[in-house]
């Protein structure tokens, strides 16, 4: 299996097995579950993009960042939004330079065509001149093209693909399945080393089947107590073990409540950092009440949780 590995990024020693990936990601500060590591393993070995889904703040974008750090590849990021099109994602022509080129060409042609005896000869000479108007030097590359052209491969992060339009999604298909793009005026540009592609989605809308079929799918759920403690430990190294257990348990019990926006990992980490800044040694009701806005982002949620803080802490204790 290992000897058939393709050249480039995929031969990276950290990609040898799921275990090495878990260890490797941990070394760059990302605590991955087995399934996450398996997804990265399959993505690099099958050379398929990974579609990462999960609620906000669960570490989707972070995974791509850490994968890039682990593999030592440049991270190329494309943030999607409504109305994003290929001129912003793939390439654009350098219109200004193209115009200058036509001006130069006009002057130049004027000189070379003056000697022509008749129209036919002039046209022949015109066609004989190389046409550079649509050529690679006039191409302004955007993230997707950059990712394909990166000689040693790259990690391409297409963030929040669900925010883009359906048309853009369709446009991505060629890129995702064959790691190539067709530019009508030039032809097909193929990746020298296929990039490792992550697409993230918050499920704002359902993605098309065609896109899903071309991707591996990774759903990152909210972590359990043990995993979340490890994550906090990795992200907030200065925290005491007892406080860490306590605060993670509190967040875990918050997640069993019926809230509009459940706190996810990024909130837990932020909260842990906030508690460190406040020099807290243990959770108490007063402290939680004052810092609750770090965890909960809606007033209604805060109002709902406040009267039950004592109860939630005692569950955790």
């Amino acid at each position: 299996m290992t000897d058939s590995l393709p050249a480039g990024s995929h031969g990276h020693p950290a990609l040898a097995s799921v275990e090495t990936i878990i260890a490797g990601l941990a070394s760059v500060g990302y605590i991955a579950s087995r399934r996450i590591a398996t997804a990265l393993f399959m993505a690099t070995h099958l050379q398929k993009p990974v579609l990462v889904e999960g609620v906000a703040g669960v570490g989707k974008t972070e995974l791509a960042l850490c994968a890039a750090a682990l593999l030592g590849l440049p991270l190329i990021r494309l943030q999607c939004y409504e109305g994003l099109d290929e001129s912003k994602a793939l390439y654009e022509w350098k219109y200004g330079k193209q115009l200058l080129y036509t001006q130069i060409l006009k002057d130049h042609m004027g000189a070379s065509l003056t000697g022509a005896p008749d129209m036919a000869t002039a046209m022949e000479r015109l066609h004989g001149t190389g046409d550079l108007f649509f050529s690679e030097p006039f191409l302004e590359p955007r993230p997707l093209l950059n990712a394909l052209r990166e000689p040693g491969g790259a990690v391409l992060l297409i963030d929040e693909i669900d925010k883009s339009d359906e048309a853009f999604e369709a446009f991505l298909l060629e890129m995702l399945s064959a790691f190539q793009v067709s530019i009508p005026e030039i032809g097909v540009i193929k990746a020298t080393t296929p990039p490792v592609v992550f697409l993230t989605s918050n499920n704002v809308r359902d993605l098309g089947d065609a896109l899903k079929r071309r991707c591996l799918h990774l759903h990152i759920p909210l972590p359990d107590q043990g995993l979340e403690e490890k994550i906090v430990a990795a992200r907030v190294p200065g925290i005491e073990a007892s406080l860490r257990t306590e605060l993670v348990r509190f967040v875990q019990s918050l997640r069993t409540l019926d809230l509009r926006k459940l706190p996810s990992i990024s909130e837990t980490v932020d909260w842990a950092r906030a508690l460190i800044l406040l020099h807290a040694g243990a959770l108490d009701a007063e402290l939680v009440r004052e810092t609750l806005n770090v965890l909960l982002k809606f007033e209604a949620d805060i109002v709902a949780v406040e009267p039950r803080i004592g109860e939630l802490i005692s569950i955790g204790a």
Binding site: M1, V18, R34, R35, T38, A39, F41, M42, H45, L46, K48, V50, L51, E53, E82, G83, Y95, G96, L99, D165, E166, A167, R205, D206, D209, K212, R213, C215, L216, H217, L218, H219, P221
Partner: protein, 448 residues
């Protein structure tokens, strides 16, 4: 084909039956994934196949349960150590099944069962009702008849040893029945569960809303949600279609002035899409109470889809229920709406009056009014003048009536008159119809 590949194929088939869509391309991916990680590490294989095949969070759950069921090793209940001293031996020449049963050879039995299952097509099971038939066929294929004949013959012979042998065989046969039934049950869980559900859903979509059995209620609710989700996706797709237009010559020339007339910046005409504004008036009175549950449920789901939805519920008075739909969870919202205005005698005239009072200023050429009700106003003044006013102001008025058209205008029904002041008046008493009509509404808006 390698045996493991064969197993993988059957697993893919089981997955499809569990509503995890596996296209041929994904099947190839699955084989590549399996080849990459090998079959040795079960967790690794599970995770690898999961990221290749399951494409939504729900599919991940279904994948996990399907994988566990499929690769569950049937625990062998009887082990070989049952053979006590003085064990009864099968007489030479007895059928295979009999000797296997007597020897307690679980492995051979399991193999024979698998083989028979393949021959009678147990993997093709689609409906849970086929279970008994399949069990029977499988046992027949394993040689049940010969076994029965042998027991009969032994009993007829009547010797004490024959008698004991017959007794032991009958006992083992009973155990075999249980095993076979369990085997088919597992096949059914693997391959039949989803197709059965799909059939039930198709039936429910055609079922009259007023005649939904309580036990189908949950299934119906799930169906409504899926329908509205589907509409939401389609609707979102439509809304984004008009992003690019034709070249806007005037704007392009204006922008080019700064560059000496050279069109550096090309401007495209864009079309402003009117997002639909929908006002819904839903009858929750006694006469339509049973259908009202689903109309409200649909309304609730629609509220999550359409950005500007004004919802009213009425019996004798119309009340705005936006707050309930926005803030409460679906079950609570429906109960609260029913508590607020439900189950009273209908008065269409006053309700229309209330509706116009509250909503009148917001009715314009971009608003579609949907009225869900039977048009039976208990002989009160139907206030057709108000209905005309609504029809004049709104872009269109769509009246959906759970009663069939032949009843319209009979007794206290004013539906024929109301129908005249509606752009569309239709019978709608199944979910299928409801979905079609709402889709029409959304589509009329999106088409330019």
């Amino acid at each position: 084909m390698e045996p493991m590949q064969h197993t993988l194929e059957s697993f893919l088939r089981a997955l499809r039956a569990h509503d995890v869509r596996v296209s041929p391309a994904e099947a190839i991916d699955a084989h590549r994934a399996a080849a990459e990680v090998g079959y040795g590490d079960r967790t690794l294989l599970k995770d690898a196949l999961c990221v290749t095949l399951a494409k939504t969070a729900e599919e991940v759950d279904r994948f996990d349960s399907c994988f566990d069921t499929f690769f569950a090793r049937a625990p062998s209940e009887r082990s070989r150590d049952r053979s006590r001293p003085g064990e009864l031996e099968a007489p030479p020449g007895s059928p295979d099944l009999a000797s296997q049963l007597l020897a307690g050879d679980e492995a051979a039995l399991a193999q024979a069962m698998e083989a028979s299952a393949a021959r009678v097509g147990a993997g093709e099971i689609r409906l849970t009702s086929q279970r008994n038939l399949l069990t029977r066929r499988m046992l027949d294929d394993m040689g049940l008849r010969e076994l029965e004949a042998m027991i009969q013959a032994l009993r007829a012979a009547g010797g004490p040893r024959d008698e004991a042998l017959a007794g032991r065989l009958a006992e083992r046969r009973a155990a075999l029945f249980v095993q076979a039934a369990a085997f088919v049950e597992r096949q059914s869980r693997l391959y039949a569960s989803e197709s059965g559900r799909r059939m039930r859903d198709a039936l429910l979509a055609k079922q009259s809303l007023t005649a939904v059995e309580p036990e189908d209620f949950r299934a119906m609710e799930a169906l409504v949600r899926r329908m509205s989700k589907r509409l939401a996706t389609r609707y979102a797709r439509k809304r984004h279609q008009a992003h690019k237009g034709k070249l806007d010559v005037r704007k392009t020339i204006r922008r080019s002035m700064g560059h000496g007339g050279i069109p550096f910046e090309v401007v495209w005409k864009t079309e402003t899409l009117h997002k639909p504004k929908i006002a819904v008036l839903c009858d929750v009175s006694r006469s339509v109470a049973s259908a009202a549950q689903f109309l409200l449920l649909f309304l609730y789901s629609l509220n999550e889809v359409v950005e500007r939805l004004d919802a009213y519920a009425f019996s004798d008075r119309a009340v705005n229920v936006n707050d309930l739909l926005d803030d409460e969870k679906v079950d609570d919202a429906i109960t609260l709406v029913m508590a607020r205005v439900g189950f009273r005698p209908t008065d269409y005239g006053r309700s229309l009056d209330d509706f116009l009072d509250a909503q009148g200023s917001k009715l314009d050429r971009r608003t579609t009014v949907i009225i869900l009700g039977d048009g039976r106003s208990n002989y009160a003044d139907p206030r057709l003048d108000l209905m005309r006013a609504i029809n004049d102001r709104a872009r269109s008025v769509i009246w959906l009536n759970p009663e069939p058209e032949t009843y319209w205008g009979q007794g206290d029904s004013k539906m024929d008159a109301y129908g005249r002041f509606s752009t569309v008046a239709k019978t709608c008493n199944t979910l299928g119809q409801l979905e079609r009509i709402i889709e029409d509404v959304l589509r009329t808006y999106m088409s330019r």
